[in-house]
């Protein structure tokens, strides 16, 4: 029987939304135990209670040390390595934090990590995407070795917060390496829904033309109660910040509604939206590849279409 440890990533907004999705993936292993590990400097972290409410969780293990104030891979990785002995599987959501830490853990445990699990076939057999999602590779982990894997959050729904798991907190002894020091983090603040979890997303591409014009995309998103996204071209050109990039190397998302405005639809971008419910494309170029996969397409100049759209929205 599987015994699964899920990395309980915490951030400035509490428990990372990917954790509830990684727990859903862990449930597919039909585990005998499903523990969430929260590494904290401060026991009063709100995210701990949230982790305990996740359905399916057996225990929330809280380990406390000042060095856990920031998610440095070398520090947290060493803690995960120490905890690994009791488990058959170690999972983390495929966030930038999870992807930073987990391969380090796998290497130190001497195992090959599985990146971006999108389906569990059995305790040792998993599907994962390759080639920007244009191929799916089915892999089997060897017997007798711990499975270390990240979970493709766009493939899983969050488990509901209906559980009541035991929280077991204790100090943890680590000797943090002196080679890495956290300096600062600059996060966008705002009331907009989070791109990774939003039900609706409005994204702008190169055709938006400038960072000033990008406000048009943001305004439409606000009208729809949507998060804002961007194509790589728009981010490269400086129209939108990096954390808004959707695609193979940016965020892979699965909103119910995705509105792509002035985005041509390179395969690298499509890789980020394959699991969206309804895709709407607005583009001047009727031949743009985005129209091949869009559920609803509208050919037209975004600078004319958006004002008209805003007028007609209830």
């Amino acid at each position: 029987m599987a015994r699964v440890l899920v990395f309980g990533e915490l951030g400035s907004k509490g428990l990372n939304s990917g954790v509830a999705k990684a727990v859903r993936c862990a449930m597919d292993l039909q585990p005998a135990a499903l523990d969430v590990l929260c590494l904290v400097a401060d026991e009063s972290q709100e995210g701990i209670k949230q982790a305990a409410r996740l359905q399916g969780v057996t225990k929330v293990l809280v380990r406390i040390h000042d060095a856990f104030a920031e998610p440095l891979a070398a520090v947290m990785g060493n803690a995960l390595v120490e905890m690994a002995g009791d488990y058959t599987h170690i999972l983390a959501a495929n966030t930038t934090v999870g992807r930073d830490i987990l391969p380090r853990v796998a290497a130190r445990l001497g195992v090959q990590q599985i990146s971006d699990i999108m389906r569990v076939e059995s305790e040792r057999v998993f599907d994962r995407p390759t080639y920007a999602g244009n191929a799916i590779t089915t892999v089997e982990a060897p017997e007798g070795m711990v499975v270390v894997a990240t979970v493709r959050t766009a493939s899983y729904r969050a488990v509901p917060e209906e559980g009541d798991a035991v929280v077991e907190a204790q100090p943890f002894n680590v000797s943090p390496p002196s080679h890495t020091r956290f300096v600062e983090r600059r996060e966008a603040k705002g009331e907009r829904p989070d791109l990774q979890t939003a039900r609706k997303v409005v994204s702008g591409g190169r055709a938006v033309g400038s960072s000033e014009n990008f406000q048009i995309i943001a305004n439409l998103a606000d009208r729809l109660g949507a998060a804002v996204g961007a194509s790589r071209a728009a981010v490269d050109a400086g129209y939108a910040p990096n954390e808004l990039q959707v695609g193979q190397t940016g965020k892979i998302i699965a909103p119910d509604l995705y509105v792509a405005i002035g985005i041509s639809g390179a395969i690298q971008h499509l890789a980020g939206i394959k699991d969206a419910g309804t895709i709407v494309a607005i583009n001047k170029d009727g031949e743009a590849p985005i129209f091949e996969i869009a559920d609803l397409g509208l050919e037209g100049d975004l600078f004319k279409v958006i004002p008209e759209l805003e007028k007609l929205l209830p």
Binding site: T96, D100, P103, T137, T138, E140, T180, F182, T249, K251
Partner: protein, 251 residues
């Protein structure tokens, strides 16, 4: 540390403009007659190493490729871009990331670079593991998804792209960096550089000679094509679009 060596990884992958096709027998993807290139993230890694050298902060840039003998081509391109020499580590089969990390660790022991700069992921297997694994095996600092690198003596201040924005960390060398898209724009190779690169040395070593016997750990059962998304239809006007969005309950 102006006598510092920088090691960069250069992976041979299917060019990013190619529409990849899965083989009908499920054994992989079609590579016959398909254009191959340097993994785009690795080009950015190499560009960063070259700029550090040009700024007088490093003495030598070594490009390393792990894979088939044809990866010579990608190493030649790397040399034409400006790398000083190449190392081709040949493997009998496609190595998985842990094996690649072990190969780099063995080369690290031999070459003693101050920095290893790698792409944050390869666009073929999209695993994104080798840099972190290498740092873990060497027990040195790692800075992934770098979008700015400021090297000062024995330490580096690295700006990283993260899900929520930007993070800055300071690391002590030796260290492993993985690079993101916005770090730099790689230079184009000019014809005279291609000619010059022909004289630069490429050393070929077999992975076994570096003590790395095992190349794969996971058994690849099959490769398949994901279900295709069915396209919908175009609407003729904004009114029609709003109508459809209403019907679907989005507005």
């Amino acid at each position: 540390m102006s006598d510092m060596k920088i090691m960069v990884g250069v992976k041979r992958v299917i060019d990013y403009n190619v529409r990849v096709q899965v083989k009908s027998d499920g054994s992989g993807v079609v590579t016959d007659g398909v254009k191959m290139s340097i993994n785009p993230f690795d080009e950015i890694a190499l560009e960063e190493a070259l700029r550090l050298k040009e700024a007088g902060k490093a003495a030598e840039v070594i490009a390393v490729s792990v894979g088939p003998s044809q990866a010579q081509e990608q190493l030649r391109t790397a040399l034409a871009m400006g790398a000083d020499r190449g190392i081709l580590v040949t493997t009998a089969e496609q190595p998985q990331p842990l094996a690649v990390a072990k190969i780099f660790a063995a080369l690290y022991a031999k070459e003693q670079p101050g920095l290893v700069i790698l792409g944050k992921q390869a666009i073929d297997d999209d695993a994104g593991q080798v840099p972190q694994m290498l740092a873990g095996l060497l027990d040195v600092a790692q800075a992934t998804n770098a979008s700015k690198v400021e090297l000062e003596g024995e330490s580096a201040r690295v700006t990283r792209e993260i899900d929520t924005g930007i993070e800055v960390i300071e690391i002590r060398l030796p260290a492993v960096l993985s690079v993101d898209l916005r770090l730099n724009e790689p230079r184009y190779v000019k014809l005279p550089d291609i000619m010059k690169a022909k004289k630069k040395p490429i050393e070929t070593i077999d992975a076994q000679a570096l003590g790395v016997e095992r190349l794969t750990f996971l058994r690849v059962i099959k490769t398949s094509t994901p279900p295709a998304r069915q396209g919908g239809h175009k609407v003729g006007s904004v009114e029609e679009l709003v109508q459809e969005l209403k019907q679907r309950g989005f507005v």
